[in-house]
């Protein structure tokens, strides 16, 4: 399988408009600087200047693919993203490193768990949240060639499923199901997949949707899930405010849809810093804990 960096290099070779930038975070692009000459620009620890310069490069017809930790990219440089890239409607691609739970032991300063809310609030900005590196690589060509600015919630995890082809703005239907729909994006697909398998073994039929893009979002998949299954479960390593649960709520209200929705997210608090497996366990996001939450919710719904 091609990794993110190799795929990016392939796309750069085919499209000379691409230019790769970083605010001195080369974790996802260790080899690339030596291979692309002056099509790589490291601005040092200057997220604001990097974004402003990316806007300037885009004014000149370039497609800058910029890298920084997701928190600093979306928070430190927010006004530059919103006012230079957003108002300018320029095709700058923002690659945010270690988003959500992936910041594991760093602590709250490094927890990008409002990034989706912030980025989707910028009018022309699209949001791509791949489940793992294979999912990222499948979506990358379309995301980089889109004329929109796009926020990419980067991750380099190994896939737990074989992904289907990427369709811009469409969810991936991982499994079909009649009772429950789990809607998930990013790294938690692996835990949602495990939860789905546990529930299926007990006779609960689970539809599992890997949302892939949160903007534009697959409204059709959400409305069908509301109509065809009795419980929707949103799973996200993000604040409850402004993420997938908010998006699903907005869509249901707009379409006068009715559904029981179980939101699994971080409710107005940062998560406990630790190594990733311990974070998942402490915060209740392992596969078996997600299955427990869904079972409990089904019982309440059944008794209501």
């Amino acid at each position: 399988m091609k990794n993110y960096e190799n795929t990016l290099l392939d796309i750069m070779a085919a499209d000379e408009r691409l230019i790769v930038m970083t605010a001195e975070n080369r974790a996802a692009i260790r080899n690339l600087p030596n291979l692309v000459g002056d099509r790589f620009i490291d601005t040092g620890i200057t997220e604001q200047t990097m974004i402003g310069a990316a806007a300037g490069l885009a004014l000149r017809g370039r497609i800058p693919v910029v890298h920084a930790l997701a928190t600093f990219l979306t928070l430190r440089a927010f006004e530059f993203v919103r006012s230079d890239v957003g108002i300018g409607n320029l095709p700058v691609k923002l690659v945010g490193g270690v988003p959500g739970f992936l910041s594991d032991g760093n602590g709250p300063t490094h927890q990008a768990i409002e990034d989706v809310a912030l980025m989707r609030g910028i009018p022309p900005m699209h949001v791509f949240c791949p489940a793992d590196e294979a999912d990222l690589v499948l979506g990358l060509p379309q995301v980089l060639s889109s004329s929109a600015p796009v926020y990419i919630r980067h991750n380099a995890l190994k896939p737990v499923i074989d992904h289907t082809d990427f369709e811009y703005g469409r969810a991936e239907w991982v499994t079909e199901g009649r009772d429950v729909t789990i809607l998930v994006y990013g790294m938690l697909l692996a835990q949602a997949w495990e939860a789905r398998n546990l529930l299926e073994a007990e006779g609960v039929s689970v539809r599992l949707l890997n949302m892939r893009m949160l903007k534009p979002i697959d409204e059709d998949a959400i409305l069908r899930a509301a109509a065809e299954t009795s419980l929707l479960v949103t799973v996200e390593d993000h604040f409850l405010t402004g993420g997938l649960f908010s998006i699903v709520s907005e869509i249901l209200v707009r379409h006068r849809g009715m559904a029981d929705v179980l939101p699994l997210a971080l409710v107005d608090r940062w998560f406990k810093p630790a190594l990733l497996p311990d974070v998942l366990k402490y915060e209740g996001f392992t596969g078996s804990q997600i299955a427990d939450s869904i079972r409990e919710s089904l019982l309440i719904t059944a008794n209501a």
Partner: protein, 285 residues
């Protein structure tokens, strides 16, 4: 420059100031800051920059980025005088049928980028300068910032990057009118000594009066001031220049005058200009 050329520029700057004063009513505009940079803008577009409707789309044209966006009336007025913008459109100032408002936007031909939030365009200009260097082009990228704007850390962050990448195709012009929005710079966040700050950040500086076309011309002939370094021109200016009744008044940042006041200010503008011409004539004699 010949005497005739200087008079031509002064006359054009006077007409640009008239436009600025006329925009200072029915909602108003940032009159004081626009008047301080009017001479700079007129000089740059007529004598320095290779840019105009004939080459707006050419990759090797020069660029001017107005980072202190609230002085955009100076740009509107200059564009009218250059024939790039129909004079009637200035009547659409703040009207929903056009895109002429308090800060710059790209819907006006000649405006390279929007601004308004301070400290953004040094970074945007770096992106443009990096691309021009990479393409081997010799064009020049000019950024006008305010002096109050220098409070923003992003300006200094951008300078660090500009010197690291040896962007000698970048020229920063500081409209040093000695005012923040509502208070004198030196009373709030002192900037002096200013030139050594830029020098310490790897730039090469010149300092001249921003109202003296000969001095501007002499200084800008030398751009880039040093090979491999960004150039910085500190242009000492007067906020409200041309109108003694509002000049250097802390409360004359944003002005929304009555029509009668505008007429009186236009008379004052011409009176001041006439007095200048007469005193120059005396000196020549």
């Amino acid at each position: 420059m010949h005497k005739e050329e200087i008079i031509e520029l002064e006359e054009m700057a006077l007409r640009v100031r008239e436009h600025i004063v006329r925009l200072s009513t029915d909602g108003g505009c940032f009159t004081g800051a626009s008047l301080s940079c009017a001479d700079l803008v007129v000089y740059l577009y007529t004598r320095f920059l290779n840019v105009g409707p004939h080459n707006f789309d050419a990759p090797d044209r020069d660029y001017l980025f107005l980072s202190k966006g609230h002085d955009v009336p100076a740009l509107y007025g200059t564009f009218v005088e250059l024939g790039w913008l129909a004079a009637e459109r200035l009547r659409n100032h703040l009207k929903t049928n056009d895109s002429i408002y308090w800060h710059p936007n790209r819907a006006i031909p000649g405006i390279e980028f929007h601004s308004g939030s301070l400290g953004h365009l040094p970074a945007v200009a770096i992106g443009v300068a990096l691309d021009c260097k990479r393409r081997g082009l010799a064009n020049r990228i000019v950024v006008i910032t305010g002096d109050g704007e220098l409070n923003e850390g992003s300006v200094w962050e951008a300078l660090l990057v500009a010197q690291a990448y040896k962007l000698d195709n970048l020229l920063f012009i500081i409209d040093r009118n000695h005012f923040q929005a509502n208070i004198r710079t030196e009373e709030l966040i002192p900037l002096e000594p200013l030139a050594p700050k830029f020098e310490a950040f790897g730039c090469t500086t010149r300092r001249v009066s921003g109202h003296d076309f000969t001095a501007l011309d002499n200084a800008l002939q030398e751009v880039p001031f040093a090979e491999g370094r960004p150039s910085v021109l500190i242009a000492d200016t007067v906020r409200g220049r041309g109108l003694p009744s509002i000049q250097e008044r802390a409360d004359r940042w944003f002005c929304n005058f009555s029509h009668e006041e505008v007429n009186a200010l236009l008379e004052e503008l011409h009176g001041v200009r006439q007095a200048e011409i007469e005193s120059e004539a005396l000196m020549v004699r």
